[in-house]
Amino acid sequence: MTTTRLPRITLWRVIVGLILAAGLYATYARFALGFAQSTHLTDPQPWGLWVGLGTLCGVGLSAGGFAIAAAVYLLGFERYRPVLRASVLISFLGYSTVIAGMMYELGLPWRIWHPIVMWNRSSVLFEVSWCVMLYTSVLALEFSPALVEKIPWVRARQFYLRWHHEILIGLVMAGTLLSSMHQSFLGGLYLITKGKLYPLWYSPYLTTEFYLSAIPAGLAVTIIALYLCVRSLNVRIDVSILSEVSKVIAPLLALWGLFRVVDLVTHDATPYLFMWREETLSFWLEMGLFVIAPVVLLSRDKVRNNPQSLYWTCALVVMGFMANRLNVSITGLQASAGVYYVPKWTEFAATLAVVTAAVMAFRYAVLYLDILPKNPPQKRWMVSNAAAEA
């Protein structure tokens, strides 16, 4: 994440280099040697890290763009406007990593276009694939002015921007609808695993739970990214916007926790809450990281108003969110699968490399496009001093 703090110091560059090299080998292993050599996936565990982390977490953590866009354009929260473009970019890059990850995940990735022409409307995955396809296009369009305004031909630029202004509200509405649909449908993927998914995670309301949890997680990612921009990219934004965004997170997390507990109790899963099993531990880890700790921390003004504590609290939210998605997709299915799945290192490497590439793309976009307002240029040594002081 902080690969960009000091351009001159090579440590981060070395780390990025190592990640990319490992990712390159993982890519070779996946496409030249196959699943058996690059993953620990088996028939009882057909979906592993690439789905659990790459797709479920990737899409969920990219929910910030639609939430902020809807807040600004549809609900009139003008205060968030300065961070709007950045959050749309984060989402767009997030979805790009999901699609890139799909190329590893699918057994026959060159057929990724099949759902466009081969329809099965009763498949949740079909709906997800269409929503992701359409929403990624919406995000690209929403973000496009940042690139178009760099075009030197005034007339072409103005023509495009005027057209874009016309369709913008429509885009935001479409984006909100598509996001709401596929964020929930990702949970809906697991509705069909009744009898296989552990009772602490199976629920007829998985769709609602996935939707409710994606919004605070996406906002937390937005806060993290913006904080890092302020720290390391000489960006000038009012950090009080971040603490204001975080005010929305705690109630949403509390709502999710409440919904989840009521759901478990009404579905007679109460005994599972305190069984001496690995699943119970994973469940409480998820609840602790995603609900209890952040809600307690974010209810304190001291935490919300201090960018650094806010940053770490948001990191907790993201970790808790990942715990939830990995629990649904991996932990919760272990017992019925009867196998113990630990991802192979190449699975981590591929995911990490794709995410690193997205972080680098974000960095260069912030540096070279007008994503966020910047401080007047300073000498390089001054920037590094300021960063060191912060």
Binding site: L74, G107, R111, M118, M173, L189
Partner: protein, 258 residues
């Protein structure tokens, strides 16, 4: 649907000779070694449970979870009974493996162009009026094939007329009903049969998916309403500010309106 075929496996009659396994492997050109579990080269296997022999294969559900899960419709329930797989559509997402309540489909993990493998009840042979290879090879009549209604009646007749049988036909209710049935003299859970949900699994997702056009219409209306309110509030605020400034003794400079 009276021509829908089904298979009945009577576990009390199976002697574990593995003729079904061999016939299946021979038909598909798989290596002939015996395998302990279903695999990409063993679409049916005999599992030994105590002194019982339990045949495993695709259950060919009436309303299959795999077919509803498959986003490109590669898996289909045919009117004749078998659930078939069209490899030319498959994109390799493996959602069918996740969705199957009986954990039947297998994936070619070690191939570079991997496909899903599962029993198709010899759909091609059946279309030509032949029996599935496994059933044809069974020397004791432990596996029989026939029209689904008749096969179910036969299974009922056997378990009602003979007290040794467990009074349940596995597959009659599991996953909303299948086209492969098992009857046994040992409780099914002791033979490794899963307690699959009783309703057809696709109904679980159908409710959640709902009617997409309705969702889009309702959601669109809701969002448009919110947008209208937001716009309206902004306009009102603007008008009020102007009224204020008009009433004020010193008018602030308003470049656009002056």
């Amino acid at each position: 649907m009276e021509t829908t075929k089904a298979i009945l496996v009577d576990i009390t009659k199976c002697i574990g000779c593995r003729s079904c396994e061999q016939a299946c492997k021979e038909l598909h050109g798989f290596p002939m070694e015996t395998e302990a579990k279903l695999s990409v080269t063993a679409l049916t296997v005999i599992e030994e449970r105590g002194d019982k022999f339990v045949r495993r294969m695709c259950m060919h559900c009436q309303d299959p979870a795999c077919a509803s899960a498959c986003l490109v419709g590669a898996l289909k329930k045919t009117a004749a009974g078998p659930v078939t797989y069209d490899a030319s559509k498959c994109i390799g997402c493996r959602y069918c493996l996740v969705a199957c309540p009986f954990s039947v489909p297998r994936y070619e993990w070690s191939k570079l162009v991997p496909y899903v493998k599962k029993c198709d009840m010899c759909a091609e042979r059946q279309a030509k009026g032949q029996q599935p290879a496994c059933v044809e090879a069974c020397p004791t009549g432990a596996s029989i094939v026939g029209n689904r209604e008749e096969i179910l009646e036969e299974a009922e007749r056997r378990i009602l007329n003979d007290s040794k049988y467990v009074k349940h036909i596995y597959g009659s209710e599991e996953a909303g009903g299948t086209s492969v049935f098992f009857i046994s003299d040992v409780p099914f859970e002791k033979l490794g049969f899963v307690a699959a949900p009783r309703q057809p699994l696709p109904t679980l997702t159908a409710n959640a998916l709902g009617d997409t056009p309705t969702v889009i219409l309702m959601g669109g209306a809701l969002l448009s309403g919110l947008y209208w309110i937001t716009q309206r509030r902004a306009e009102v605020a603007m008008a009020e500010a102007q009224e204020h400034s008009a009433a004020a003794p010193v008018r602030p400079i308003d470049k656009e309106r002056s």
